[in-house]
Amino acid sequence: MSVIGSDNRNLRLGVRYLVLILIALIFVLPLLFMVMSSFKPSDELLRDTSSLRAFLPVGQLSLDNYTGAFERAPVGLFVFNSIFVTGTTVLLSLVICSLAGFSFVFLQWRGRDVMLSIILATFIVPFETIAIPLLLEVSKLPWLGLDGLSWGWLDSYRVQIIPWIADGLTIFLFVQYFKGLPGELIEAARVEGASWFQIYRRVVIPLSGPVIATAAILKFLIMYNQYLWPLIVVQQEQYRPVMVGLQYFFQLNPAWGEIMAYLTLITVPVLAFYLVLQKAFIASIASTGVKG
């Protein structure tokens, strides 16, 4: 009887692993295809798409596609631009949106609920609908820089960063998380005479690792994948991000091998960022699930 039970357990475990492996393959195979293809000549890459060879390191493998990618486009510059814009936006966003969330949860002020509703309502407004009005706005805004006062933000890093710092989703994430923090902690800090900013900095933020990681990852992905906005506000190559740079490879005859090499290169920062924050991210998802 115990043997049968053990067999059943093993069978269930085997089936479970099989299902998990299949699901993992669905996500891993495209990445595997991308990496393997980045080492193959374009014509061989295209031929291999009809067989399992597409996922295997077989055929004429070389680093030619990587060399070609760097010759075709300033890959390093594009990656730097994207990381700079993304990193700056993520940092500023975490500060501004967490402050906003803190204010919505812990401070009492007139119109708070209405304002929160308005911010949440921005969820349903697709960016494409405000892209043109926003373009017209930023093209006429003043800027006081080292060269003095100038007009128009086009062709700059700031035009890619500032409009994206605050957003409804990130504020919402902080609001939801802050609501779950024990109220007694805040009250105790108030009784001890802490200012609101001290409570934010010394009590709330140290407890908010999971939501900070979640917000950072989501914002990172949104910013790193930016395409439409930089396309319309940046005309100079020196400010172009990776996704606009991808278009360099789509000529009349797309250089598929170089495209795969370029995609592999620009995927590295995303994977690295996720791997660094994944524990906190999973903790955040798990805690959200527990709260229901």
Binding site: D43, R47, Q235
Partner: protein, 420 residues
């Protein structure tokens, strides 16, 4: 006195230098070739040559990726940030001119009298743009296949009729040697559809819009000729003569070279690559479906933005760039059809007897521009969908009626695209 003279001399010299410095007008130029190493090199060379050839103007280049170029220009126009000189794909020129992005070239049209018709961007009776090259489509075939199937080789003077063309496809299918008789490039969604397939409709006697008035598609896109085209077009796919819209892009890239397709309806930009891999490839003219052999014309062209403060300088650059030596250089490097016959004679591929000389003849004799109307940007999308739907088995008459309605509605919505 001596000090005074020296001082005066210095002032005069300084003023002279200043005025010399002020005399140079900076011009900005946008180009669609970012990522194309060969093309970028030539464009930079032309600009360097121009800047060195005179001191009145200095051109600075900004390159954009082709796929996103139009969106960048439209956004810049909205933000009032257009450059002095910009290039554009031929069929979009009327829309940009109508929208006020462009000004007519301040160059007499006679200056370009030797240029291929497809390279001249004329809208509302004015020349707005000029191209350094044109592109052409031909029927790729192997001489060995033609011989094996016992087919007559069509010429510009005597192209295949519809019956001959269909017999050739049927013969290829019956031979059992090919996956499909012809590759039309159905996987290549986008502007390829109107560029490559609209000429078939025109050869049947139909069209996208009334070319005399440009105020309706009624009777043109849904008339008897258009319906005949639609039925023929659909038969190519129902009879399994050509792969349909689900064609694998990889098969389109290598299918003809690998011998999977007997014929390929393809552009001259793929000709050099194909010649390298298929020894006996030949390029045949489009079949005549009743109203003459036709192929699409007009490729990338230079124009001047309406906001340019120095159109005369921009015009000087365009005249400089359209010299035969540059047309030939572009052609040799990219396989494009040079805009003039004299430039063609300077190239390795398009000179008399050259391996691609046939394309020059095709462009000269058969090229027909896509409708020269601001509404083409919409018409093009409507045609793309209609051609794809019919290929997928949609009812021909309903599809063409619906496409006609959409184009007419767009014309009405824009008040007939009257000149502002």
């Amino acid at each position: 006195m001596k000090l005074l003279n020296v001082t005066a001399g210095a002032v005069i010299a300084a003023t002279g230098f200043c005025s010399a410095a002020f005399a140079t007008t900076d011009l900005t130029m946008w180009y669609h070739g970012a990522g194309n190493k060969v093309e970028s090199k030539i464009v930079h060379q032309i600009i360097d040559d121009f800047n060195k050839s005179q001191s009145d103007y200095k051109v600075a280049l900004q390159s954009f990726p082709q796929n996103s170029y139009n969106d960048s220009v439209t956004a810049a126009a909205l933000a009032g940030n257009l450059p002095d000189i910009l290039d554009m794909d031929g069929p979009i020129m009327p829309n940009w001119a109508w929208s006020g992005y462009l000004q007519p070239l301040p160059i007499p049209e006679d200056h370009f009298k030797d240029f291929l018709p497809g390279t001249k961007g004329v809208y509302d009776g004015k020349l707005y743009s000029i191209g350094l090259w044109d592109a052409a489509v031909a029927l790729y075939a192997r001489k060995s296949t033609m011989k094996e199937l016992g087919l007559r080789t069509p010429t510009l003077d005597k192209p295949w009729t519809k019956d001959e063309f269909m017999s050739a496809l049927e013969a290829a299918k019956k031979s059992g040697k090919f996956d499909y008789a012809i590759d039309l490039g159905m996987s290549d969604k986008g502007e390829w559809y109107p560029y490559a397939f609209l000429p078939f409709l025109q050869s049947f006697g139909g069209g996208l819009v009334n070319r005399k008035t440009y105020d309706t598609a009624e009777g043109v896109l849904n008339g008897d000729a258009a319906v005949a085209w639609g039925n023929w077009w659909q038969s190519l796919f129902t009879d399994k003569l050509a792969p349909g819209t689900s064609q694998d892009p990889a098969a389109h890239e290598t299918g003809f070279i690998d011998g999977k397709y007997a014929f390929s309806w393809n552009g001259n930009w793929n000709a050099v690559k194909t010649m390298d891999k298929v020894d006996d490839v030949e390029f045949l003219p489009a079949p005549d479906f009743g109203n003459g052999s036709k192929i699409g014309g007009a490729s990338w062209q230079f124009g001047i933005s309406a906001s340019s403060k120095a159109p005369e300088g921009a015009a000087e650059f365009i005249k400089f760039a359209t010299q035969d030596k540059y047309l030939a250089e572009f052609s040799d490097a990219l396989g494009l059809i040079p805009a003039t016959k004299s430039a063609a004679q300077m190239t390795k591929n398009y000179k008399s007897g050259g391996p691609l000389a046939v394309f020059y003849g095709l462009s000269e004799a058969q090229a027909e521009k896509r409708p020269v109307t601001p509404g083409y940007v919409v018409d093009s999308k409507v045609f793309q969908k209609a051609a794809a739907d019919i290929a997928d088995g949609a009812d021909v008459i309903d599809t063409l009626d619906s496409a006609t309605d959409q184009i007419n509605a767009d014309i009405k919505r824009n008040d007939g695209y009257k000149k502002n």
